[in-house]
Amino acid sequence: MPTLSPLIYTPATELLRRLQEGEISAVELTQAYVDAIATREQRIGAYLRVEAERALQQAIAIDDRRRKGHTLGKLAGLPVAVKDVLCDKSTRTTCASRMLENFRPPYDSTVVAKLKAADAVLLGRTNMDEFAMGGSTENSAFQITRNPWDLERAPGGSSGGAAACVAAEMAPLSIGTDTGGSIRQPAGLCGVVGLKPTYGRVSRYGLVAFASSLDQVGPLARTTQDVALLLESIAGHDPRDSTSLDQPVPEYSKSISEPLKGLRIGLVQEHFAEGLDSEVESAVREAIRVYESLGAVVKMVSLPHSKHAVATYYVIAPCEASSNLARYDGVHYGHRTDQVAMLAELAEERKLLEGAKDEVGLERLDSSLVRMYRRSRSEGFGQEVKRRIMLGTYALSAGYYDAYYLKALKVRRLIRQDFDHAFCEVDLIAGPVTAQTAFRLGEKVDDPLAMYLVDLYTVSANLAGIPGISLPCGFDKAGLPIGLQLLAPPLEEERLLRGAYMYEQANDWHKHRPKMD
């Protein structure tokens, strides 16, 4: 086995400095990651598509421009992996779905456009749960992704590929999306840092929507410093996204090392309840003691409506999903059923009905258009996506709307209010990311409810629109990473990162790496 370049273990911020000072070239760095992928990817399956050739071409061009003294972007030469849910006109965007298996968008998402403008090297597209629906990446239509810490375990999801590729040193930085915990939960289970920004902090333009009012794009990396670097490169107002916030973007990577003075940390009573694994609990409590040792004051806060968060989430997200995914009907793009087989099927049914003189059946028989919709969608979507489309369609139906969607919106407002009240008392809220460490592949695939509960501690932040970060805070006896979640008020990413950095500096959990070779 060839020895891999030590560059792959180096934090992105350090790599950027070396690139800028000419100590290393973008090609050298990109090649280091391409080599790492070549050796490790087969075991992990983090990438749906590795775009080594394109990445190397980009790297060559960046090195060339650097030699000529041209102005380069902020991330010039740094490899970044992108979750396969953000449109990039130079490749396909599949959302890990058969439906979009061959979909090549004619435009760049704002985040991808920003990465390109920053001269990031785009390494490839990472695996995910189909349309970002799931918590284990097992809902990908194409492949499973394995947790680098234990190949029999799931990396979490839906940004499982994004977390696993960073954990396995197959990318220094990666972009994920978080609708109910899809960045923080896999980051926690894979022992890396992942940040979900405030809703509206990063443009959603070109992010294939799952649940529009909850979706947010965010960075994953191995250190908080690297996460800050990537966040400031993708955040900012976008006139193409009405829900994006028109607020200046602080230089997170510069302010991150300033400790927070007089920090008040809130612990959520409801987070330390039944179901929380004792090893996870003790790691989180130990992290709190570290904060106390750094001068922070710790207070208990209550989020009384958080017990309804998962239920609320599983009304709102499927409702929006059912609407957002209605466009995949086989008419304009995406998967369309085989027409010959479809017409043959219809003809066969008609014949049977005619034979049975079933007038009602004939009356109700699909038109070819409806049958085309039905078959295309049945074939194109996986089980979990169908389940959520059905949940959402049901909840939005006449007569159910008030009882489900409207009520969920009301609870959502109460959840946000809980946070508003809590943040009057404390600066940051700390707690576990997940109740358990990484679970076994296949363990929850037949139990959707158990799978939904992995979002228990993370969904509230999406419902409230507040930023959250997941960072390593220890390991269980099986050697699996444990994540600490910090939450901050809206647009307080700076505070969140500074708080996370304080903790990170006080220990070396983030330096532990899975044994890969």
């Binding site: 968008p105 929507a209 193409r240 009405s242 009907d329 006449a398």
Partner: protein
């Protein structure tokens, strides 16, 4: 049984707002482009694309709502109306459901011919929404190919829904004409029905007087009416049809679901349409991609100010200030902004609105109609018409010759003065008339004696001769002077 019923009509009008770009993206709304050339990821509904509201569309909608006397809330939002159709690429239409941008307005309609009383038609609501694309079905081929043009997808529409306040096809037509006049007058839409900028659906039923009391028939929605005339004809067809159906079946409102019927213009009948596939539940919910719109009092005030005088205000002013008959005032105002502006200019520059009105309503509108042209193409400009009216009033253009001058202005594009000169019209002073009179009387002693004997009409022969000698002679004045001189002549 006598046909003793009232027709109850409510209209749903969709007007395309006169924006350059679509409601949620920057694609052009220009009519008639090659199919699918005015599209982008947003209006194609591609994965990941997001809508952003066109401010101008909202302003035009607000202007309309104010002109329709609507109540405007401080807060309005967007909703998704969900259904599957190949020309709806997102599988939902962005529309407004429970919090429309305006409600509870009215539009006053009148009929100068008196077929109905002047009345206020209540407007239930007016809301903004995006248009769908166009499906082109090759029906001749049976199965054939269906083609979709998405140029129209995302075009801003204002849906204006009236209360069921209309009682006849004449009222419906008057409502549509007044609405169109208003919308074109304030410049929010061109209301071109051929290009689909104005579309009308009608909800119709009957209230039938029976010995047992009043009975309402099931409501029918009529679609596919492509002109105001078609609306009129469809309603005239539909009311007696419903009466017949009621006589045959006795079916009342509530006995059957709302039916949709299409107007077949060639056959002159409405026909039942197959109801859309499971379309009854649109599963409306607030569009999470769009932020709600806040409307300030300032915005409403600005919209109100931008309206200027509305057609109803103009009619009133023409009667009150210009002293036109209300019939004439309506004739002018109903022609729309171009004629109104023409008339206003001619009236103010000549200082004689009544004459301006007479020329416009009697001569100019007739000529325009005969030649099927617009007033902006008319050869006699408002300025020139005003000049001609002034010349008449100042006496430089004798009234009897005004028509000649007008024709010349029309054929050669002359100003009034040029026409007067070309016609050789000049004012003749009194002494010249006296001189000519004397000369002719001297030559015709017979006429003098006839006059003296009381046969005053004898001077008629001299008027003809005088006009030949000098076409500028005012015949009336010539006659007066002639008679006077003849009486004085001693024989």
């Amino acid at each position: 049984m006598p046909e003793n019923y009232t027709t109850i009509i409510g209209l749903e009008v969709h007007v395309q707002l006169a924006t350059k770009s679509k409601l949620f993206c920057r694609c052009s709304t220009q009519f008639g482009a090659e199919p699918n050339t005015q599209t982008c990821p947003v209006c194609l509904g591609l994965p990941g694309s997001l809508p952003v509201m066109n401010r101008q569309a909202f302003e035009l909608a607000l202007k309309t709502a104010v002109a329709l006397n609507c109540e405007i809330p401080g807060f309005t939002k967007w909703d998704r109306k969900q259904y599957y159709y190949p020309d709806l690429p997102k599988a939902y239409q962005i529309s407004q459901y429970d919090l429309p941008m305006s409600s509870a307005g009215y539009l006053e309609i009148a009929d100068e011919k008196g077929t109905f009383e002047t009345k206020k038609i209540r407007i239930t609501r007016a809301h903004l929404e995006e248009d769908a694309g166009k499906s082109i079905h090759d029906e001749a081929a049976g199965k054939g190919d269906s083609e979709i043009d998405l140029n129209r997808t995302g075009t801003p529409l204002l849906e204006i829904v009236s209360e069921p306040d209309l009682r006849s096809s004449a009222e419906a037509k008057a409502y549509l004409q007044e609405l169109k006049l208003m919308l074109t007058h304030i410049g929010v839409s061109d209301c071109n029905m051929q290009e689909g900028s104005l579309r009308v659906d009608a909800n119709v039923n009957l209230h039938i007087d029976t010995p047992e009391g009043k009975i309402a028939t099931p409501i029918v929605e009529i679609k596919n009416m492509n002109s105001f005339r078609a609306v009129e004809r469809a309603l005239d067809y539909e009311a007696p049809r419903q009466f017949r159906v009621w006589q045959e079946t006795g079916r009342k409102l509530g006995d059957s679901p709302k039916q949709t019927r299409g107007w077949d213009d060639a056959a002159g009948v409405t026909r039942g349409q197959r109801s859309k596939e499971e379309s009854s539940d649109y599963r409306y919910f607030p569009d999470p991609d769009l932020v709600p719109v806040l409307i300030s009092d300032d915005q409403i005030a600005t919209a109100r100010k931008s309206l200027g005088e509305l057609p109803a205000d103009l009619r009133k002013r023409y009667v009150d200030v210009y002293e036109l008959s209300s019939y004439d005032a309506s004739v002018i105002v109903n022609q729309g902004r171009a004629v109104i502006e023409y008339f206003e200019q001619a009236a103010s520059e000549s200082g004689d609105p009544k004459s301006a009105c007479n020329w416009v309503t009697q001569d100019i509108l007739r000529l325009l109609k005969e030649n099927d042209r617009g007033i902006d193409e008319f050869e006699v400009s408002a300025k020139n018409l005003a000049g001609m009216i002034s010349a008449i009033n100042e006496g430089t253009l004798p009234k009897p010759r005004a028509k000649e001058a007008f024709d010349l202005m029309l054929s050669k594009g002359y100003a009034a003065q040029q026409a007067i000169e070309e016609l050789g019209i000049e004012q003749i002073d009194e002494s010249a008339i006296v001189e000519l009179c004397q000369e002719l009387l001297n030559k015709n002693p017979r006429i003098v004696s006839d006059v003296q004997n009381g046969k005053l009409q004898a001077v008629g022969a001299l008027i003809g001769q005088a006009k030949k000698l000098n076409p500028n002679i005012d015949p009336a004045r010539f006659r007066e002077i002639c008679l006077e001189l003849a009486q004085q002549t001693t024989s």
